[in-house]
Amino acid sequence: MPKLPSWSEIQKNTQDNVIWKSIFRPGSIYRKGYRDTSRDRALAAMNNVLYHLHPVKVKRHGLKLTYTYCLGGLSFFLFVVLTITGIFLMFFYTPAAGAGTELAYADMRNIQASVTFGQLVRNMHRWGAHLMVFTVFLHMARVFYHGAYKPPREFNWVVGVILLTLTLLLSFTGYLLPWDQLAIWAVTVGTEMMGFTPVFGKQVQFVLLGGAVIGPNTLLRWYVLHVLFVPFVTVIFLAVHFWRIRKDGGISGPL
């Protein structure tokens, strides 16, 4: 039997070549020669795509779990999980309804019954959505109680309020897509309220429903809003939100 290469040999062969070095920039913890020194710790952050989100150093107190409770980060993590599971669901879902073509509903049933991991992914998407509304709300509460919206962070608080609204919109537009009794009646209740907008009430409702009553057009419209428009806007505001955290001097405090 030929002698198997040792672990350090494997490590050397994978790391010590042009391709590996072209992928992992100097300072990367995956690159050969990373040492746990101040210099390499700084480079690990600076030479990484994460540098778009994190500075090289952060305030020590911000690391304490009881300062942020990780709530903003977890909201973002859930947003990412929802994007991934959502893309998976999109492979198997057609936003079509109406007598004889109840594809949306049939696809949902199919996802649960025959698609591998379909039920699990749908569950993660739905519970994740509820959870995200919850974590965003708690994140807002923690920001408030820390007075973290005070100058220079006022505008980021406003961006946050917009994100809260967008999170609710994401969740609500998705609620219609299974096209079951729960979906259309919850949306009926919600859009009826919008019908009472002063002056333009009927028009607002018409635009939202894509017609006078909830129907196949509503489904298509809300599908596009749910998978494209609202996530797109949300990503833009998330970018501004994260950018402002850094420009406003990193995490607030200590109290």
Partner: protein
């Protein structure tokens, strides 16, 4: 100033050792300067301790007693050797400005007690802009990223376990002609639906949430209190807690205490009318 020539011997020696050109050049230039100084008999390197003491004593002899006035003279006498007292330092400045030998410094009258002249008043921030205070910071890698990673794993695990055991709601096919009783909005809107019982739909569905969101955003501008300490912002915290509790009560009422016809029920008597 003329360009310093490089010391060829040093340069050759260094390059032959594989030292990069840039560094070899710099070292060779330094060698030239050192050589020149040695030729001139200048000592290089830090002064030895006794040399420093000697220089200080020389200085005192020259300037201490005569130029500085009485205050300086006594101060010199009291000063522990090896260090300058503030008076001595002032005398030294005066000396360097040329006031001991009678030639006044530019703009300073010869008999003036001042050693400098006022050019302008500049706020401290104008001299050195300190934009960041020194803070207690740690490296993002590994400290922050590890915390984030653990949080992410924990949340991922919770979501996975919940999703493994509890299936998402899925009812009969949508039927516009068959209104379920009760018809409820998703839980986060049930507070609003609850308000519908008390207000005109325009107030409950549009005015209150609209004003609420705008007020929420405006909070950051209305709160003029600069302190973030809880003990200094009792009013703000109390108001927020009040509104959040109020909202929670409405959401709970709409979620668990409303049944058929959206009429009041007791969940432990009539059961739950709530779906996620």
């Amino acid at each position: 100033m003329a360009e310093v020539q490089i010391d060829q011997a040093t340069y050759d020696a260094l390059t032959s050792q594989g030292v990069p050109d840039r560094i070899a050049r710099a070292k060779a230039k330094a060698a030239t300067v050192r050589k020149e100084k040695q030729e001139q008999g200048v000592e290089i390197g830090p002064k030895s301790a006794d040399q420093a003491t000697k220089a200080l004593a020389e200085f005192r002899e020259n300037f201490g007693g005569s130029g500085g006035g009485t205050a300086t003279a006594t101060a010199v006498a009291d000063a522990p050797s090896g260090r300058l007292t503030p008076e001595e330092r002032a005398a030294r400045v005066r000396a360097s400005l040329g006031q001991t030998n009678g030639s006044p410094s530019i703009g300073v009258p010869a008999d003036s007690k001042h050693t400098h002249r006022l050019l302008a008043l500049v706020p401290p921030s104008g001299i050195q802009q300190v934009s960041d205070k020194q803070q207690d910071k740690v490296y993002t890698w590994p400290h922050l990223l590890l915390v984030e990673f653990v949080a992410l794993l924990a949340m991922g695990a919770v979501l996975l376990v919940v999703s493994y055991f509890i299936d998402a709601t899925f009812r009969e096919l949508a039927n516009p002609n068959l209104t379920p009783n009760p018809s409820k909005a998703p839980w986060y809107f049930l507070g609003l639906q609850e308000l519908l019982r008390y207000f005109h739909p325009m107030v409950a569905g549009v005015t209150i949430p609209g004003v609420g969101l705008i007020a929420l955003g405006a909070t950051a501008y209305m709160d003029k209190n600069p302190s973030a300490k809880p003990e200094n912002r009792k009013f703000a915290n109390m108001s927020m807690t009040f509104f959040m509790c109020l909202w929670t009560v409405f959401v709970f009422a709409g979620s668990f205490f409303r049944g058929p016809g959206f009429n009041w029920v007791w969940p432990w008597v009539d059961g739950l009318f709530f779906e996620l």
